[in-house]
């Protein structure tokens, strides 16, 4: 493990550069953009889960005073014509286009079918109500079981199943089936003394960011498009908009505003291309579209409801001999559920030679699934961690000792055959076993303790940063990574560490696609690690240039220069970093630099959670009494924000486990599209969330940083299910474990 004394700045907790703006209300978010002549957009949405669009009459809306433009799917470039030329890739592009404005069918309650721009919000809303859409209502398909049935209604008539790489004949709702297998499953189960096989179903849930999607677009008279939006990645928003509008990326500029939460849900574009179309039609006036909360819940986000079956076997002495998982995930209306990443999470913590994981990507009449923090991981781990708990109990072992005995280490292969790098999972487990929480007995009726492990592989991607050295030695740092939770601070800290200057000397800004090099989106827990790596490289490059200038000033050979804590020295003479900056400003070329990173390998993160809870036997309500999250986070650059990532992930995981779900009527319409009825945790629902940071460094990062943000949402549902079993003796095989469902199990137990 590293110690904080290795570093001067990393491991400290300085204020964030954007902090004052965010506590005073000055920070500009997606809906805060105000441009001269700006119009307001409003989107018309399908009230049906599955319907053919027979006709759209926009004439009354267009006739309303104050209305400047109306668009429908017919205004989007047709990507369908190119499908035969370019194959499957274009089919997917067509789907993302159809998702933002429906083509011939509305595929979920809330699917956008038209949009209007007007001089104010009220006129836009009134005009939207005047657009008349004629639908032929079709039967909806609302879960994977219905969708995979032989006689299921079909969402997309041209969809064919990709079965292990081959295209199957015939209409289907199954977009793909893949399989990872190693060893001999039958032989593995044959050597087991105990085999547990269970089935789990989980509900559709939403990311629940507090800021609704909002974007402002100006399609200028020179055919260039400027967009200001709340997005996890300006370059990702630009490339998606370019594809949907069939424009070169060079003609689109995206400036990211502050972002009010994303968790994966602000990776796809929804309103950006629509605002651009309206702007062009309205005579090149800027158009802002801000979603309502109901729009957000109905037409963005969610992550997949799922059906997961897990079978695992172990010997009497607690060695896992074989493991099998089948995962069927809702993709929503178009292909692309997170089942591929779920398949990497489901059995990740366990060393097992005989293993098979099958994944199915299944269309249903719900919004197209978008990523949600460790996409697919929570559902998968809920299932596998429940089975592991049963196995441990069946062989009479402590659940943490059982996990320790079967834990993966560096070099062990995953289900897909790839070996783990340095993961630090053993250290995490050992710390959990020794943790005061685990050592403290839990007493009382209806109380229970559960544990669960979680894994996320994180993502590398590409990042750029650039900087100039100002005359007073301060550094203007430009980043392409949008800052959702303090990353301006964590990246500036790594630049300051690299330059060996105070953190306060770095001024960090997030800028748009025209002002910094290509940077992948803030997601995959990559930003602090990978953009931080780019900042380190930038620091090294600036440091070399500053040393060269210092050598010129001191009239010494650059090779003789020493540098420490902002001072260049050579044979007894010295000049400070700030003096070099001042003199470089007076004479010679400005000092600027860039740094990039695109690593082949990056650090993954394992975590282990311990939860104590109490069940109210009268209501079935679960109260969380104590919660501890332990995780290998690599070097914690800004520990407060690392703790915050863990606490936030736990809170979302608890919501997913015990309350959150999309509730649909029989006709496929969503019944709970408000924050009253879609029940996310409040401050009253949670205790303090204890965190333990285990800092096993990632060896290929200059500071050992690995991503930390996603893993914390993976274990909570499994840990709570295991604690519930400890409290009541019942196994919940369904999410959410909401009061009504828990109460039914209590009653069933009492009846038996």
């Amino acid at each position: 493990m590293t110690t904080s004394s290795q570093y001067k700045i990393l491991g400290s907790r300085p204020p964030r550069p954007d902090g004052v703006d965010k506590v005073t209300g000055r920070a500009v978010y997606g809906n805060d953009t105000l441009l001269p002549g700006m119009l307001y957009g409003h989107i018309v949405r399908s009230p049906h889960a599955h319907a053919r669009i027979v006709a759209i009459d926009t004439s009354k809306a267009e006739a309303l005073p104050g209305v400047r433009a109306v668009v429908t799917g017919a205004d989007l470039p047709s990507l369908a014509d190119k499908m035969e030329d370019l194959g499957k890739g274009v089919a997917n592009l067509r789907y993302s286009s159809n998702n933002i404005l429906a083509d011939d069918k509305a595929l979920y309650d809330g699917h956008a079918v038209a949009a209007v721009a007007a001089v104010d919000l009220g006129t836009a809303a009134t005009a939207a109500g005047l657009i008349e859409v004629t639908y032929e209502v079709l039967p909806p398909v609302m879960d994977v079981h219905q969708a995979m049935a032989d006689d299921a209604p079909i969402l997309l008539s041209d969809l064919r199943t990709d079965e292990l790489g081959e295209s199957l004949e015939g209409e289907t709702n199954v977009a793909s089936h893949f399989c990872h297998a190693r060893g001999n499953l039958d032989a593995g189960f044959a050597t087991a003394d105990v085999v547990i096989e269970r089935e789990y179903n989980t509900a559709t849930v939403h990311q629940g960011y507090v800021e609704p999607h909002a974007a402002t677009a100006l399609w200028n008279a020179d055919d260039r498009i400027d967009i200001w939006c709340s997005t996890q990645g300006a370059f990702a928003a630009r490339s998606q908009t370019a594809i949907i509008l069939q424009k070169p990326v060079s003609e689109i500029s995206v400036t990211p505003t502050e972002i009010g939460g994303g968790f994966g849900g602000k990776i796809p574009v929804y309103v950006e291309p629509v605002a651009a179309l309206l702007s062009r039609k309205a005579g090149h006036r800027p158009v802002k579209i801000a979603m309502s909360r109901a729009d957000v819940i109905k037409a963005t986000g969610p992550t997949s409801g799922s059906y997961v079956k897990v079978k695992m076997g172990a010997t009497h002495d607690g060695v896992i001999t074989a493991a099998q998982a089948m995962l069927a995930y809702e993709a929503g209306a178009y292909p692309g559920s997170p089942v591929p990443s779920a398949s990497r999470v489901v059995l990740a913590p366990y060393k097992v030679e005989n293993v098979q994981v099958d994944g199915y990507d299944v269309l249903v009449n719900k919004p197209k699934a978008s990523p949600y923090r460790a996409p697919g991981g929570t559902n998968a781990a809920f299932a596998s961690e429940s089975v592991v708990d049963e196995l441990a109990r069946a062989v009479g072992m402590d659940p943490l000792e059982f996990r320790l005995q079967n834990a993966v280490v560096e070099g062990d292969r995953q289900a897909n055959g790839l070996p783990f790098g340095r993961i630090g999972y053993m250290e995490t487990l050992q710390t959990a076993i020794d943790h005061p929480h685990y050592a403290t007995p839990l007493e009382g009726a209806f109380r229970g303790r559960g544990v669960a492990a979680g894994y996320w592989m994180n993502w590398g991607g590409k990042s750029s940063v650039s900087a100039s050295v100002d005359a007073d030695g301060s550094i203007s740092l430009l980043e392409g990574s949008t800052d959702i939770g303090g990353s301006r601070a964590s990246i500036a800290m790594q630049l300051a560490e690299s330059l060996d200057i105070p953190y306060e000397q770095v001024k960090a800004q997030v800028v748009g696609t025209d002002l910094v090099g290509y940077t992948d989106l803030t997601g995959g827990s990559r930003t602090t690690a990978i953009t931080g790596m780019a900042a380190y490289n930038l620091g090294q490059s600036l440091r070399a240039e500053m040393a060269r200038r210092a050598a010129e000033l001191m009239e010494v050979d650059a090779d003789t220069i020493q540098y420490e804590e902002g001072v260049f020295s050579s044979n007894g003479t010295r000049v400070t970093f700030n003096e070099v900056a001042e003199k470089a400003h007076a004479h010679g070329a400005p000092i600027v630099g860039t740094g990039t990173a695109a690593p082949d390998q990056w650090g993954a993160a394992f975590g282990l959670h311990i939860v104590d809870l109490e069940v109210d036997p009268e209501t079935g309500k679960i109260k969380i009494l104590r919660y501890t999250a332990l995780q290998n986070v690599g070097k914690a650059v800004h520990p407060s924000y690392v703790e915050g990532q863990m606490q936030g992930g736990v809170a979302q995981g608890i919501g997913w486990a015990i309350n959150e779900e999309y509730v649909y009527g029989d006709d496929g319409t969503l019944l709970n599209a408000s924050l009253l009825d879609y029940r996310m945790p409040t401050s009253l629902d949670l205790p303090m969330i204890e965190t333990t940071l285990i800092e096993v460094p990632w060896p290929d990062h200059p500071y050992g940083v690995r991503g930390c943000g996603e893993t914390p949402i993976v274990p909570p549902a499994g840990a709570i299910a295991n604690a519930l079993h400890d409290a009541l003796g019942v196994r919940m095989e369904e999410l959410p474990m909401s009061p009504g469902k828990v109460l039914e199990r209590i009653w069933a137990q009492q009846a038996a």
């Binding site: 907790r13 204020p15 209300g25 000055r26 009220g122 507090v210 990532q645 408000s674 924050l675 303090m688």
Partner: protein
């Protein structure tokens, strides 16, 4: 076009006159007409607290107040919170939110800070339970509330010191 109503009110200590339609919410006017975009719309129906303001000393969801109801009333928005404390550039609550890293994305933060001010105006020495109950009308999706609750308790200590 619609008839507009003239409304006289006091916004963050300054007398203001604005025109609004009867259908408009206080939130819409505060943001769009007065340009005070620190108050956020997270839900539009009183469930998230991101638009919270203090109206004549009472904490309210500005999305549930109609703009004409501001006639003759005093409004405090996030933009006015720092000015209620003459001793420093930031209000101690704002300072403590920063020190405790009690915000991540920051969209809910204005509402939380306004709610915290209303709590501490009424109850200068709240328990953790008091804080959790009072703030249950403000949703934060990033932090799990841990650091927010600590920031509020520390604000109370700092303000009563």
């Amino acid at each position: 076009m619609s008839n507009k109503i003239v409304v006289n009110s006091t916004i963050n200590g300054e007398p203001q006159v604005f025109l609004c339609e009867a259908r408009q919410t206080a939130l819409e006017v505060i943001r769009e007409t007065l340009g005070l975009t620190g108050s956020k719309e997270g839900c539009g129906n009183g469930n998230c607290g991101a638009c919270n303001i203090i109206l004549d000393g009472v904490l309210v969801n500005s999305c549930l107040v109609l703009a004409p109801e501001l006639e003759g009333r005093a409004v405090l928005t996030i933009e006015g919170v720092a000015d209620t404390c003459a001793e420093a550039d930031l209000h101690p609550i704002q300072q403590k939110y920063l020190e405790h890293a009690a915000l991540q994305c920051g969209i809910c933060t204005p509402g939380f800070i306004v709610s915290t001010k209303a709590l501490l105006d009424e109850n200068p020495n709240p328990t953790e339970g008091d804080v959790r109950l009072w703030l249950a009308g403000n949703l934060c999706r990033c932090t799990g509330y841990d650091k927010i609750v600590r920031a509020v308790l520390d604000s109370a200590d700092a303000m009563s010191a």
